[in-house]
């Protein structure tokens, strides 16, 4: 086992998805720098060349050839500095199951102009063992994995899990695996240690979700302490997306010593390098004990600001229009953007309608003043009246006059007319005149049950806070005031007022009339449907309710008895929202803007869903019957 230390550098950089030439140019620059700094081992993240979340762009052969060409350039540039990086591994002679060229999510080690593969393996690169297909990932759609390869080669899997030998140093290389305790019945980390790895290298392209990094560090620290090997974890920063769902990457790269101590590479979401003199094997002892606690709201605020700024850049948006109602959601969105934009590039538009109160109108003005940005008030009354005049009472008829029908707009129809008038008529036109985009301010509570209007408040270029429950939006508002701005940019009145759409006389904030949701309870209920491990359904809710453990199971601090006057009322409410969640809620999410993910189960690719209509199990019907008798 080698004893001298090796000068090692981890490069946490901003990988541009789908732009191999750009990424490679940056990597080549880092390689030159490392060579001049005497670095022996240089480690880049998983999929550093192509980026990771590319959809079916993986099926473009021209793109694959571009990646291969980039790899050859890195190979040629790597002299005495061993360069570890992620890219797509290609086998042009074999086919994937989709019939296309065989692709692997692969780790390359370039050294002295050559690629070094695991000893005795079939390829000059390391193949990812466990492909993620859960959450936002689709790896099996594009990549072959090591298990299938083992079957094809008729070799035991462990034979293919060997270190890469580098001048007497055995590198136990893997790709973003083995961080979790229970997901797999198999540990590549342990297999590589058992096969003689001196140092473990885990390159990763793992999106941010709140609390994920702390959990990963805890698990890895425990593992490396048990295996007595140092581990280098390198993740990228930047923004990648699956279309509907937009993910930030916080990096959180770090080195673990052989006792479980941690040396972080730098701040989250920042490009950074960590250079250390690595003593392989059990001697490594450079880290600090783990930090065990973090600030969830602060982490979310950081991810939202980073992700929003990066998404604007992706879309080429330099100016932003926010429709501000005087309510909490739009106020939070406006306050977030004000951190990213000069006051002249942020325009807040208040669009009072027939049911808008003086209170919310004033709060919107106060918010605009606090943020110091541009504002304008554009009432919708004239246009809404025009639409009513034009449609309500107009007669449709067949050409021969045999069929005639007079159209009539209900009060509910007119609520949606107002919402659409604000977004699809005013905001869209203002945004184009302003040379910018307009935002969707929907939160996750509304998005869950579709408490939004198609082409109305559901519209926008990005649904930036749609992964936050209403209660989390309030927490974020307080955090923005106290920690980010250090003053109450979001007026106290906005934090105190009852949440209301103000689309009808029945939604009068002056009389305390607001949304039909008891947010702390309904947030907890909806969270159990969307984010709970086994996706709670009404059956689970009633079973828990009957056992008296509903509050505990869904994480609601209050008592359901204080909200519902008995099981019939609870069940009526439960079915009302479940029907919406599974009914028009799905239809609306299909046409919703991209969602910026900060937690598990953001809508979109991390929460795949079909339009099926609301269904209830027979066990639910039985529980309901027993509760109602």
């Amino acid at each position: 086992m080698p004893s001298p230390t090796r000068r090692t550098r981890l490069v946490q950089f901003d990988v541009a998805p789908g732009r191999p030439a750009d990424n490679t140019a940056r990597m080549l620059e880092a390689i030159r720098q490392a060579q001049s700094d005497g670095v022996e081992l240089l480690v880049f993240p998983e999929m550093a060349v192509p980026g990771y979340l590319l959809g079916d762009a993986w099926e473009r052969e021209s793109f694959l050839r571009e990646c291969e060409r980039c790899g050859r350039e890195i190979q040629a540039a790597a002299g005495g500095t061993a360069v570890v990086f992620g890219s797509v591994g290609l086998d042009w002679k074999r086919r994937n199951e989709d019939g296309r060229v065989r692709k692997y999510n692969a780790l390359f080690v370039a050294h002295e102009g050559r690629f070094l593969g695991p000893s005795g393996g079939p390829y000059p690169f390391v193949v990812k063992t466990l492909l993620p297909n859960y959450r936002e990932f689709d790896d099996s759609r594009h990549f072959h994995d090591l298990r299938k390869l083992a079957l094809e080669l008729d070799r035991p899997l462990r034979d293919l899990l060997r270190p890469v030998e580098l001048n007497g140093l055995a590198l136990g290389c893997m790709l973003c695996e083995d961080a979790w305790d229970s997901d797999y019945g198999f540990s590549p980390l342990a297999a590589l240690a058992a096969a003689g790895a001196d140092v473990l290298i885990n390159i990763s392209s793992s999106p941010f979700t709140v609390n994920k990094d702390r959990k990963r560090r805890r698990v890895f620290a425990r593992r490396v302490a048990a295996l007595r090997r140092p581990l280098l974890y390198v993740n990228n920063v930047g923004l990648q997306n699956n279309g509907k769902t937009v993910f930030t990457f916080d990096g959180a790269s770090c080195a673990y010593d052989a006792r479980g101590g941690v040396l972080p590479a730098g701040a989250p979401f920042e490009e950074t390098v960590l250079t250390l003199d690595l003593a392989p094997g059990p001697a490594a002892a450079f880290g600090r004990p783990l930090a065990t606690r973090g600030d969830t709201v602060a982490e979310i605020a950081g991810a939202l600001l980073y992700g929003t700024g990066r998404f604007m850049a992706l879309c080429g948006a330099e100016r932003v229009v926010v429709g501000v109602s005087g309510g909490i959601d739009s106020a939070v969105v406006a306050a977030l953007y004000r951190r990213l934009l000069a006051p002249r590039d942020l325009l807040l538009v208040n669009m009072p309608g027939p049911y808008t109160s003086e209170t919310t109108r004033g709060l919107a003005r106060e918010l605009t003043a606090n943020l110091g940005c541009l504002g304008v008030e554009l009432p919708i009354g004239d246009s809404v009246a025009l639409t009513r005049r034009q449609v309500d009472g107009c007669e449709a008829r067949s050409a021969d006059g045999a069929l005639r029908e007079r159209l009539a707009l209900t009060g509910f129809n007119m609520e949606n007319v107002q919402a659409r008038d604000r977004s699809a008529r005013v905001l869209a036109a203002v945004a184009s005149a302003f040379g910018g985009v307009f935002t969707c301010n929907a939160n996750k509570s509304e998005a869950t049950v579709g408490y939004t209007t198609f082409y109305g408040d559901l519209a926008g270029y990005l649904a930036g806070i749609a992964d936050l429950w209403k209660t989390e939006v309030y927490a974020l508002a307080r955090h923005l005031n106290t920690a980010v701005y250090g003053r109450a940019v979001i007026p106290a009145g906005i934090l105190d007022i009852v949440p209301s759409a103000e689309l009808s006389a029945a939604q009068d904030v002056e009389r305390g009339q607001g949304d039909p949701l008891v947010y702390p309870y309904h947030d907890a209920l909806f969270r159990s449907w969307v984010e709970h491990w086994n996706r709670a359904t009404p059956e689970d809710i009633l079973a828990w309710y009957r056992e008296g453990v509903l509050e505990e199971k869904i994480g609601y601090d209050g008592k359901v008895e204080a909200i519902f006057d008995g099981p019939a009322a609870l069940i009526r409410d439960l079915e009302r929202w479940w029907d919406l969640y599974q009914g028009t809620g799905v239809a609306k999410r299909i046409q919703a803007p991209p969602v910026l993910a900060v937690k598990r189960r953001a809508f979109g690719f991390d929460h795949r869903e079909s339009q099926l209509g609301a269904t209830y199990t027979r066990r639910y019907a039985e529980l309901k019957a027993s509760l109602l008798t």
Copy 2:
């Protein structure tokens, strides 16, 4: 090997996704009927109990328990009639890779109150060997497969591919596999035949795409003739979706005899049963030679009518509003709906604007008269003028007056104002007043390059023809006139007029000014990007162009020289559309309505994409440089 025939029945039925109790009730009824008819072997489709395309509903344990309960009822009902059906196979003791309960896409054989599994296998059900992750499928996200199981059990895969023994008859059972020649390097069909299967049973839940059934029959017929075994293929009918993409199931169930003859179960898209006296082994000879040709346009029309009708039912839509411009797309959509709806439930709305010609206005009236349904003309001029007055020239300012900016709407901005006014203001209000939904009439050519307006012509409850290129829309129009209606319901003028958005003075149909697309060429070009096996990119296009094979490679009947005055013009056009396809085109598809799929690579789940912006490979840049010098 057994010689007596067995009375066998294939049940092609309409599987309701996510509704196990409903499906099971229908299956139990079919079992009772089969028992009274003396059927010995009764075969239902893959995933007949739960349905197939369910998104993450597979993660709901309450749903899985419901499926298991349904399975027990079928098990109890199956007496002397052996019942083959698909459902989810559960192993509550093991975990999938996502940490949840272990699930399989499974085939069950219920007989005499018991489930019969493959001889020597670990479960009382057949596990799907090859999980599809390509196209619209996500099987590895939810299900474990036989290969991983073989690795875990440390047994060769072929050991687990054994027939199910049923009273001396060896059933070689599989799930929707092995239909294609090249996708897998492995044939479960051949393995089961080699293991002694007397009859092969392939249950399936395979969506319709045009020409797929003919290809499948050709491959299966060849296989069974080589293996000398009859094969029973049972697929479901109905509609299932992945949210963004809506799939029809045509069934196309049939029995193959041991020489490759085919006995179809009935018409596509229809519930049907096929009862036959099956002679197992090489003696089976009941089929007819294959039909080798079909009518593509007729197949597409059939799928669109079926899918649209079923999607309306799914959404609870009984009345439909179509905005008709006098152009081809909306005319085709209106003509399709008229086949599904009484004239009183279909309302065509023409919305003339400042640039609408008398010609298209007249054609819209003619179409409405031909279809005999309701119509109304609702001009948008007043509203568009109101929006211009309100936004153009209005001043935004900061509260302290330090910042001031006067907004100005350009001509291009006003084009989008018109499009949004039509859909988000008029059509949405009319649809709600009419008690119905309104349609999105975008075709695949427009959807590819985002030649649509957000919240304008991109809006609607379903994009029913968005899987058809513009040239296919014309073919469908002619088919509707000649074969479906037998008269020119779509006026000749609509087929003849130049396609145009009529949103500016430069799009004057009276002067032959229309869309900036040469449809036959651009359809072929876009098809190569979207539907080509390896997803052509500008690099491929230029390489083909340089080799003089572009027309052949993309399937364009004309000559590019007739369109472009040299390589510079071709390249300028190529980059213009590629930038849109990869730029705002993606953003628009994210917010587009569900797409009804009829071909390979419908947008959505069969064409996953990320917002990455348009990129070009370095090889493209080199080809471009060489062509321009």
